[in-house]
Subunit: 252 residues, 2 copies
């Protein structure tokens, strides 16, 4: 049995019971070193642990498939949701490449994605149609990423930017925000959330024209509002739709 287990953003209060059970039942737990710290320690006790650093995804997945092929219950942990920029896909690719799709049962335990966790701290920035785009060009050509940002801006989607910055790519975020600004008011609210639901959490809101890239690293989620998003108190609010068929605030 091979299971992709979503840990959620990192706080134990957002780890689902299903993820907990999957980890309790596992004999082998595999994951990126940084994510092992997000697993409650009691769930790691007595388990065989295989963890490696950044860029070790393929090694980890192949090891996990080796274990599952031997009939061991194997869990691969992912932060956020295992199906969003995470390991579920690579696990399926490995099962396919090694002809194990019929012999190794595979399942995915969904979790609270990073962008939702960030959005909740900002109030209600999503609410309506949205896009998620990763600014990492490690596996995707930068031109395609640019195209997606442009189209998402043109479509007035709320835009969630994953992997907004790394040491190697310090100017991608600025370039993406410039593309968005071609279709959106400079005052469009932006939410910048660092380490949502983890130690050191920081929540910041500003206007599109005033985004400070210095606040952003690879653990940051950047959410750009749509044309209707506004700042309300300390929150971001995207109304449900564009018609005004409803009226709030009239006390019953």
């Amino acid at each position: 049995m091979l299971t992709a287990v979503s840990l959620g953003p990192g706080h134990e209060s957002l780890l689902t019971p299903a993820a907990r059970v999957a980890l309790e039942n596992a004999e082998v737990i595999v994951g990126y070193k940084g994510y092992m710290d997000l697993v409650p320690p009691e769930l790691l006790q007595g388990k065989e642990i295989f963890s490696t650093g950044m860029m070790g995804e393929v090694e980890r997945v192949n090891h996990a498939v080796d274990c599952a092929e031997q009939g061991r219950r194997t869990a691969v942990v992912c932060s956020g949701d295992a199906g969003i920029y995470a390991m579920a896909g690579l696990m399926l690719e490995a099962l396919e490449a090694r002809g194990l799709l019929d012999s190794v049962p595979f399942e995915v335990v969904p979790g609270v994605p990073a962008f939702n966790a960030a959005a909740a701290l900002l109030g209600a920035p999503l609410m309506h149609d949205f896009c998620s785009i990763s600014l990492s060009d490690l596996l995707t050509p930068w031109e395609l990423i640019r195209k997606r940002v442009r189209l998402a801006a043109e479509g007035d989607f709320v835009i969630c930017l994953y992997n907004p910055r790394s040491k190697r790519r310090s100017d991608h975020l600025a370039e993406a925000l410039d593309l968005i600004a071609e279709h959106r008011d400079p005052q469009t609210p932006v939410g910048i959330v660092n380490r949502a639901w983890r130690e050191g959490q920081k929540v910041h809101t500003c206007a599109l024209e005033h985004v400070d890239s210095g606040l952003v690293d690879m653990q940051t989620m950047v959410l750009v509002g749509n044309s209707a998003t506004r700042r309300v108190g300390g929150f971001l609010l995207t109304p449900r739709g564009y018609h005004t068929k409803y009226e709030v605030g009239s006390s019953l």
Copy 2:
């Protein structure tokens, strides 16, 4: 205290501890009738419950704000994530309209969104950049929805379609899929998930050209793959990116 509480897709194993605590602590629980069935019964005991039917959102939110204004700990429950096509925004709108942003503390407990829950059952259909679009034109002009579908298709996003069909709008899904087909191969894999993680769950995959609208109702999530998505065993797999910088399947 006014809290938007995400119940996740509906199965208790995907209800987060944070949501459970928020409901335990609430004095008043407000929600759509259909969602009250998703709350574990012991969490409703001894609480004041206010639930109404479809289209009663504004009434529910205003009642919840009334209770919170009186100093009562009030939770509004939402299925999936409270910040995605749900109640968090309307709650903020009501607090704003009634001048209560400073006096009534507001928070959102994030949860497992419906589209993630559906995606997990399909394997790994998301993985990479994706869009979420609601086909409901109740609060959004159909022309804007069409535009978004077209742009999402052009940008080769994986596309999640919420509210794909209702009695009133039986042809919106077919129209949306036609728009997508202008940019995507007729063989593009599509996942159709009914009642994900609830009783009566059904998971179906097919090619874009063969989507059977008869399988789709308002409780269905439709996920359309991108140009790289393929069917693998009984699953949908979208690879992580477009470069092939990695090689899976070589046993270590």
